[in-house]
């Protein structure tokens, strides 16, 4: 049975029909038409569907949609301030980290969520934090370099406040 689910998506209130077996990824992609979270495995293995839920990065294919009631969900669509990209987005682009790009929206959200908690990480900490996000093109090295560059402030200060925790 479906019911109406209400939550905040990138700061805006939304409502959408959701069944009790639907995942957050299902309602974002199929219900609301937000295709930036990708479906790579639908098992929580690959991280392509990573979004930020009340300040925590989650794999949206493993979150039942109805548990998001009243919560704040942030997808990569909500990161840029108009044309001004988030420092993580700029870093990924300029360091040439994304290749095919399919893992990228999830990778951006995992990195943003991580840097919010640990703004001055070591390389090992970055690898561990992002290790739930797979990239088959194998762009890992440049992703690590880009996160480290962001942490060094190469792309300006991180925006105030935790993303998705409006």
């Amino acid at each position: 049975m479906s019911q109406i689910l209400k939550f905040y998506l990138n700061g805006n209130p939304v409502q959408v029909a959701a069944g009790d077996a639907d995942t957050l990824l299902d309602v974002l992609r199929e219900g609301l038409g937000f295709t930036s979270p990708k479906c790579g495995c639908n098992h929580g293995d690959c991280g392509a569907c990573t979004v930020i839920l009340n300040g925590y990065s989650v794999k949206s294919c493993t979150v039942l949609a109805l548990t998001a009631e009243g919560k704040n969900v942030c997808t990569v669509d909500g990161l840029a301030d108009g044309d001004k990209l988030h420092p993580v987005q700029r870093a990924f682009h300029e360091y040439g980290a994304p290749q095919c790009g399919y893992c990228t929206p999830g990778m951006v959200m995992a990195a943003v969520s991580f840097l919010n908690r640990n703004p001055s990480p070591t390389e090992d900490e970055v690898k561990e934090a992002l290790s739930g996000n797979l990239c088959r093109c194998g762009g890992y090295k440049k992703y690590v370099q880009a996160v480290m560059a962001t942490a060094r402030g190469e792309f300006g200060p991180l925006p105030e406040g935790s993303v998705g925790n409006v």
Binding site: G33, T35, S36, P37, K38, C39, G40, C41, N42, H43, C46, A48, T75, V76, D77, L79, A80, L85, Q89, R90, F92, H93, E94, G96, P98, C100, G101, Y102, C103, T104, P105, V108, L134, C135, R136, C137
Partner: protein
Amino acid sequence: MFNSVGKRVPRYDGIGHVTGRTQYVSDVRMPDMLTCKTLRCPYHKARIKSIDVSEAKKSQGVYAVITKDNVPHNLFAMVPDHHVLAEEITRYKGQNIAAAAAVNKDAALDALAKIKIEYEELEPVIDPEEAVKDGAPQVRPEGNNHLFDGKSLTRKIRRGNVEEGFKEADFIVEGRYTTPSQEHAPMETCCSVAYLDASGKLVIHSKAQGLYFAQGDLANVFQLPLNKLKFVGGTIGGGFGGMNSIHTDHIAGLLALATGKPVRFAMTREEETLFSTIRSPWIFKIKDGIRKDGVITARHVEVLHDCGAYTELGLYAVEKNANLIAGANLIKNLAVDSRMVYTNKMPSGSMRGFGVNVGQYAEQVQLDRLARAVGISPMEIRFINAFHVGDKNHTGNELASVSTIETLQKVAAMSGQKLPEKYLAMSSAK
């Protein structure tokens, strides 16, 4: 010297990637779009004794159910021997038998469950070394062994005189190496969205690595002229060779033609991993002769490629493998005998390093074995046997731009290995 060439220009669609605006085939949605699911064979090999889709067609929410009888030309692929939907004898587990287009996934699956099908399970052959034997269960009516040039069991390379070369050798070293099945595992699973546009043209949003390649192949399946068939794509969530084979475009297209509605066929991760083309297994036997001074005097390589149930790109892989299996070494006396055999597994596709990196694994591990036999270092054996500019490689190509020696010198310096003066003084120029 150059203005644009050599610059670190960021990716053309990089902003789209980091903002999530890049659209992949799996993101394409259309109004009134149907979902496709397929019935896959549960056996490695079976005879379909009967199939009845009449109840399935009446299932709620279903617009079409198709079998081989609904395919205008039921053969596809680079070597067009693969069946779009199975004929009487199925050849591998997961082979598509029937397909349904319905209002949603559940309705499509319900319809497939109503197909009445009677199988006779047949004895398969899985092990390539069994499949080559006389009396092995037959994968295809033409026999299990591929006949090269229509007649030869082996694809040959012959250079110099191998027997003489072995006589020249101080050591004979033999090795056997195998590589397993690998999956391309792109992050985006294979997906198609097919529909008829306002002019009646069949449009297929495809994950194909070669849009024209797929178009040419499937024009034949659909029996459509190229002005009635348009492929859309060019931006995909990873290919690695897997998208040189067609997995969903053919069936989505047939269902769009059958229903007149947009049809989406997306493989799940499980379908992609279990039933798409793969890097298929290889077996290499290498016998080398080497002199005390480190010169390889002769090499005989026997290759067996397990092609799976249909040719797909397996034959191409065997050809390319044979040309390069002796590696980046000047070997004057060489014999290569490659075989390709069919088994009841998913077909051999192309995968990055296609046919070559499997051989390179065998060849480069064997090379270290040779070095140990002679008592020289891994660096030394590679310098001693390196190609130079103007050398002919193992298929008789004259080599123009050659760099084994230079890349060895550089990588030695990078990794902090001191090379003897004579290797530092070497150059690929003759």
